[in-house]
Amino acid sequence: MSKYKAVIGLEMHCELKSNSKVFSEGKNTYNEIPNSNVNPVDMAFPGTLPVLNKKSVYQAILMALVLNCKVPSYLYFDRKNYYYPDLPKGFQITQMHAPIGTNGYLIIDTDKGEKKVLIHDIHLEEDTASLDHYSDASLINYNRAGVPLLELVTEPCLASAEEAVAFLEEMRRIYQYCDVSEADTKKGQIRCDVNVSIMDQDAQELGTKVEVKNVNTIANVFETINYEIKRQTELKEAGRYDEVKQETRRFDEETGTTIKMRDKQDAIDYKYFVEPNIPKYKIAEEWLSTIQNSIPNLPRDRKKEYINEYGLSEYDANIIIKDKDYANYFEECVKIGIVPKTAANWLTVSIIGYLNKEDCQIKDFYLTPVLLSQIITAINDSTISTKQAKEIFNKSLTELKEPNTYINKDNAQINDKKELEEIIITILNNNPSQIEAYKNGRSNLFDYFVGQVMKETKGKANPNLTKEILKEKL
């Protein structure tokens, strides 16, 4: 990018997985029926009090440790006070003074190589209710009120939309791998605020920061950043940089642009103070080390392992780690003895292809690694051809019967030279005129004979062996 560089910071909100909400016994499950997962605390009936969900704290600390953050000795919360119809208490319980993690970093892979993304902080808070606006009314759904939310704030250290997206994708995978969130944007489980400014390549001072709120898909984050860079650059080029204001904007999906919401001077004073109803809680060192030890193998580590130890291409490794369940499937295959490259081929081509076509999850995929290995073993034994393997794969999935059902003597490949010779001799004896024509130069008739053999054997003849014998006999 020309004479300017962009400086980008992200705030990423992620809803956590748990049985109950972060401060109440209300259920935390995705529910289609509005206002079915609520209890008096979620709706802030007078006299209700927050009760902290220990699992949410565990998950928050786990993520803080994954992001190499410093975890405070005492856990406590703050109130962020403001009025809005989606906020039943009139304040949100969050962490301002002592976030669960501060000063961390995460190393990610980008097109341009490794990048260390600096994490300002990560903190635990509660989600608001959701609002649906109609022309004559707005409806409030309290299912989401009190759902545990982790907010991650990066330093302004990202330089492009591509980097921002790479970071978000990596974070989403980490949430999934750590099993703390489904991190599903379709369910609104991930929401971002994006801060963008531009500055001269050689400048020391940062430009004017614009905040874009509530960008709800990763693709929109990409568009938002590029739109803002373009908008700010054009104004700067035109000598109108003073029109870039420190303000809050929102992304408009229809036009692909950002629209001003409010000025910096209209920023709300949230009047933070310590939440008095949740006593300070000492985070024991032993608990921290227990959590540290429970961090699973993360996607980037797995990817390195796949490339360095299993010899996969980076391309294949990237496809496999994209989804924790793919990676687990792959690793299970390797564990039961399937050659890693073979497993990767099956997974990245046939299996993912099938899953995409049928729009289903690998968790629900009928052919478990053990069943898949039946097919792979049969190929290795030359019991079936790769073409047959493909057919058995499909048949097995259609009829939900294990591949071995179809791998038996009946459909086993005919590899026996003697048996094939007999069949071929009979065919040749029955086709004297074609032999004549072949010998007179119609070489394409060779394929005709191959076809006849396949027809006779119902496709079970080993094709290479068939060709070999035919060449001999003709």
Binding site: P40, M43, A44, F45, P46, G47, T48, L49, P50, V51, L52, R79, N81, Y83, P85, P88, K89, G90, F91, S138, I140, D269, K271, Y272, F273, P276, N277, I278, P279
Partner: protein, 486 residues
């Protein structure tokens, strides 16, 4: 019959000399009588049903509930127009516990709106009058509860105490007011005023009843993270005649007459009475000493309290916007509806406190006001804890005299002189300390009280000292006699 204490009533019930039904009928009758006289109730539960008599001392016995407790199926207004029609669908934990023990609620008592006030005059149903003299205030905010217990409507009523809201009206009404250690009784279902200072508690006519009622209400509650396990404490069983060697202290800067160059006759009598009580305590083997404090620091108690309580209140009451409960207000936009609801619903006094609360929490003001107030609180609590290493409790007179007139003809003006005297009960809220007021005399035929405050978790000790003091004073179980003005 309801002028009797819990134990006496329990024995009558067990011996079938009376029934729960007849106690409730009598209590309801007295409720209506007092309502006409003093306006003590928001709701009288005329269809209250008797309960079975068990070994539980409070089974079958009527009691009153301050109207800032959530009561399932019964109007709970906090004496505010914002909740004038609010009928909760769940019981506060303290209420659920009392139900479990068989006590029967017969009315909901008037308070200063949301507990924010010390006069008993700001409830949406009007002022509560003092049954000893209906031209006088009861003080607040547990105004109706104090009036009803003093009048003999029942042996106990629930109160809540954020600054002195149980202990001051108890003194003005000549009864016992007790606020246990913070977290001993669950606050779940108590409409909050200032969460870090709010306490549930009880008003009774004797220390035994305070112990019995609290035993039934207390306990760790999974719905309130600030509660603690007190299952090894039985306050009633801990009362005994042994106070030998107990040590109390008072603050010279509060009780020495020389601190008050302009003392009224009332104040002189009040302090004189206090010192007489101290002499009596010494006679039963309790050591009482004079201690000295930094007067300037302790004079800031009131301001620090205002900053902290108003800050928490403005946040705690942000749920009152008319969207989920309460009578929704009109308005073009949702923000307008919320604004109108709050503008119409809250009294000017509360709004003033919200403004103070918002002001002290503002980013540019927090350090100067809210955080400094928190530092004052911390310093005072530290000083008290230091004292409690030597002493079992602090003993001081409540307020500067008996209940003031309602019409303001002798206005309660807090001058610098009496600032600490009027505000020292707040120390109990700052530290979450157990604190009890009992009657210790009369001035102009009006009751006055004395307060004992001890260290956290030492409830049994404090109650026992109060119990022994009560036994050598002639005011135990007294019923408001007094003057009735039309």
């Amino acid at each position: 019959m309801l002028n009797k204490n819990i134990l006496e009533l329990h024995n009558l019930l067990i011996n079938k000399e009376t029934t729960s039904k007849s106690l409730i009928e009598e209590s309801l009758k007295k409720s209506h009588e007092l309502q006409a006289k003093c306006n003590a109730f928001v709701t009288i539960i005329d269809d209250a049903k008797e309960s079975d008599i068990t070994k539980d001392l409070i089974s079958g016995i009527p009691y009153g509930i301050k109207d800032n407790y959530s009561t399932k199926g019964i109007l709970s207004t906090a004496s505010s127009n914002t909740l004038k029609d609010y009928v909760p669908f769940f019981d506060a934990t303290a209420i659920a516990n009392l139900k479990k023990h068989g006590a029967v609620a017969v009315n909901k008592t008037v308070l200063d709106e949301f507990g924010m006030g010390g006069t008993g005059t700001t409830g949406h149903t009007g002022s509560v009058l003092n049954p000893w003299d209906t031209k006088r205030m009861t003080a607040g905010s547990s105004a109706g509860s104090a009036a009803a217990v003093a009048y003999g409507v029942y042996p106990f009523a629930l109160g809540s105490d954020t600054g002195d809201s149980i202990r001051k009206p108890a003194a003005y009404c000549g009864i016992v007011g007790y606020k246990p250690t913070y977290g001993m009784i669950s606050r779940y279902g108590l409409f909050p005023f200032a969460s870090s200072l709010d306490h549930c508690g009880v008003l009774t006519r004797c220390v035994e009843d305070a112990a019995i009622a609290t035993d039934a209400m207390k306990g760790i509650d999974p719905k309130d993270m600030t509660t603690w396990d007190s299952s090894d404490i039985n306050l009633y069983n801990s009362l005994n005649k042994n106070v030998q060697g107990k040590k109390l202290f008072y603050l010279k800067e509060v009780v020495d007459l020389e601190n008050y160059p302009h003392a009224t006759e009332e104040l002189k009598q009040h302090l004189e009475n206090f010192h007489q009580t101290i002499e009596k305590l010494k006679k039963i083997g309790i050591e009482v000493k004079s201690e000295t404090i930094d007067k300037r620091l302790f004079q800031t108690i009131g301001s620090a309290y205002t900053c902290i309580s108003c800050a928490e209140a403005t946040s705690n009451m942000s749920n009152l916007n008319g969207i989920i409960f309460g009578p929704a207000a009109d308005g073009e936009t949702v923000i307008e509806k919320m604004t109108n609801y709050r503008t119409e619903g809250f009294s000017p006094l509360i709004k003033r406190r919200f403004v103070i609360g918002s002001y002290v929490l503002k980013k540019e003001n927090q350090e100067r006001y809210y955080l400094n107030a928190a530092r004052v609180r911390r310093q005072i609590v530290d000083i008290m804890k230091k004292f409690f290493e030597t002493y079992d409790g602090l003993i001081l007179p409540v307020s500067a005299g008996p209940a003031p007139f309602l019409d303001g003809s002798r206005k309660e003006t807090i001058t610098d002189d009496i600032r600490i005297l009027e505000n020292h009960l707040i120390i109990g809220n700052f530290g979450g300390f157990p604190s009890i007021t009992i009657p210790n005399g009369f001035i102009d035929n009006l009751p006055v009280g004395i307060n004992i405050t001890g260290n956290c978790y030492k409830d049994a000790d404090i109650l026992n000292i109060a119990y022994n003091l009560e036994s050598i004073l002639p005011y135990k179980n007294q019923i408001a006699g007094g003057v009735d003005h039309e």
